[in-house]
């Protein structure tokens, strides 16, 4: 199976590094971005198979990233998994309406479960 590319957009460096290390050990190719602008840029240039996206980000927030990614024809079908700690109904609903595929609450998920979810999404997509 070819190696799938995942873009991680997360401004918390510790969480970003943990995700990166775990997922690359699971056999994925990882691209990281630490703010919204970088996220959009890397999504366009790298054309990942899946995007893990934080909502609260510097420069441009997760909502803006979803909008711009979905506006791009080549990226319209890419699964976007929100990484959130919000868990508030409104924030998640807003992101899903904008075109995010699904979401997970960082504090409730083990890295193993994140990897499982990512694998599941890639099979569907």
């Amino acid at each position: 199976m070819e190696q799938k590319k995942i873009l991680i957009v997360e401004d918390d460096i510790v969480l970003q590094k943990a995700l990166q290390e775990f997922l690359s050990a699971e056999g994925f190719e990882i691209v990281v971005a630490s703010d919204g602008e970088e996220g959009i840029l890397k999504a366009k240039n790298e054309e990942p198979d899946l995007i893990l996206l934080d909502i609260i980000l510097p420069k441009k927030d997760g909502y803006a990233v979803i909008r711009e990614v979905r506006a791009e024809v080549s990226l319209a079908g890419v699964p976007i998994v929100l990484l959130t700690n919000l868990g508030g109904l409104n924030d998640v609903e807003k992101a899903l309406e904008l075109g995010a595929t699904t979401y997970l609450v960082k504090a409730d998920y083990k890295l193993e479960e994140v990897a499982e979810k990512v694998r599941g999404m890639l099979v569907k997509a």
């Binding site: 969480l15 775990f22 050990a25 700690n85 868990g87 083990k110 890295l111």
Partner: protein, 322 residues
């Protein structure tokens, strides 16, 4: 009879009430109400005497209007102080929500770092080191539970608890929760048994939160059961729901306090006396989660005999509309 006097005394103990509410005596609603009553009685007496001894409608009108003015002022104070309390309460809920939210990020970091250490960087760690890291992970999980509980309570209070509903097989959740309570049960020599119907249908609910509800009920059962007691967990199929029971033969809940069980921060007298630790948030959260999931929760309890908690959750209608 003594109780009635006690209540009356409490009712009129304005200083205590003001202290409890954290306001000055003259701001306490009950003080202001008593003042209003006194002024009304005084005003009526004055009006009575004026009409009896002086034939002067102007005096009556003047007297009445000034009394009304005074009453309006006091009424205004009452409204103001109630508004202030409501605002303070809201600010407190928001504070709890923001504070626990901020705590979640470092806790997630610790969780993931520990997992990374144990799963991908385990090489070279001695068994003792792994054990220590495991203990740290366990403590961190406990901390996360507390923060999640606080956050859930704040969300319930703000009326915006968002459930992540999905189709779940209940048996799996029960197994996981029971497994995580085995150590607690063993440490207290409590026998923990599980019986789940084989053909239990799937339900639609929030996986993590239903786990929290079950964990609250099971760990309560273990905590409030004396040594060598037992806790039985059963899950059965009902007509249109799944029926779960957590039964213990522990200290029970005193009859007089059974009405308060679902109140926030409620701890029964015998629970406090036995020095069992707890926040008194578990059942408050459980009730709200179960009811928001379209289910019901109820219990039967007798002091020194034991407590049985039941809850029901609706079965997933079909695979298509899930």
């Amino acid at each position: 009879m003594q109780k009635i006097w006690q209540r009356l005394a409490d009712e009129f103990n304005i200083k205590k009430q003001a202290d409890e509410l954290g306001v000055k005596i003259w701001q306490a609603p009950s003080f202001l109400f008593i003042m209003m009553g006194i002024i009304i009685i005084f005003a009526m007496t004055v009006v009575y005497y004026i009409t009896k001894y002086y034939d002067s409608p102007e005096a009556v009108i003047f007297g009445e209007s000034s009394v009304v003015a005074v009453l309006f002022t006091i009424g205004n104070f009452i409204i103001k102080s109630i508004e202030e309390m409501a605002r303070a309460n809201k600010a407190k809920t928001e504070f709890v929500s923001i504070a626990s939210h901020q705590l979640k990020t470092p806790l997630s970091e610790i969780n993931w770092e520990i997992e990374l250490l144990l799963s991908k960087n385990r090489e070279g760690l001695s068994a003792k080191q792994v054990e220590i890291v495991d203990n740290i992970a366990h403590s961190n999980e406990k901390m996360m539970r507390l923060v999640n509980d606080l956050l859930d309570v704040a969300r319930i209070d703000q009326g915006r608890l968002a459930l992540v509903n999905e189709q779940i097989s209940f048996g799996k959740i029960v197994d996981n929760v029971v497994l995580s309570n085995v150590i607690l049960a063993e440490s207290r020599n409590v026998k923990l048994s599980v019986e789940i119907d084989k053909d239990l249908p799937k339900i639609i609910a929030d996986k993590r939160r239903i786990g929290v509800v079950l964990d609250n009920l099971i760990s309560n059962g273990i905590k409030y059961t004396k040594e060598y007691g037992k806790v039985e967990v059963t899950a059965r199929r009902g007509a249109e729901n799944v029926l779960v029971c957590v039964k213990d033969n522990g200290v029970g809940i005193p009859k007089s306090q059974q009405g308060n069980v679902y109140q926030k921060f409620f701890r029964s007298d015998n629970a406090i006396k036995n020095q069992t630790d707890g926040t008194g948030l578990g059942l408050y959260i459980a009730k709200n989660i179960i009811e928001q999931s379209g289910g019901k929760i109820w219990f039967e309890s007798e002091e020194n005999k034991g407590t049985s908690f039941w809850f029901s959750l609706p079965v997933a209608k079909s695979l298509t509309n899930a």
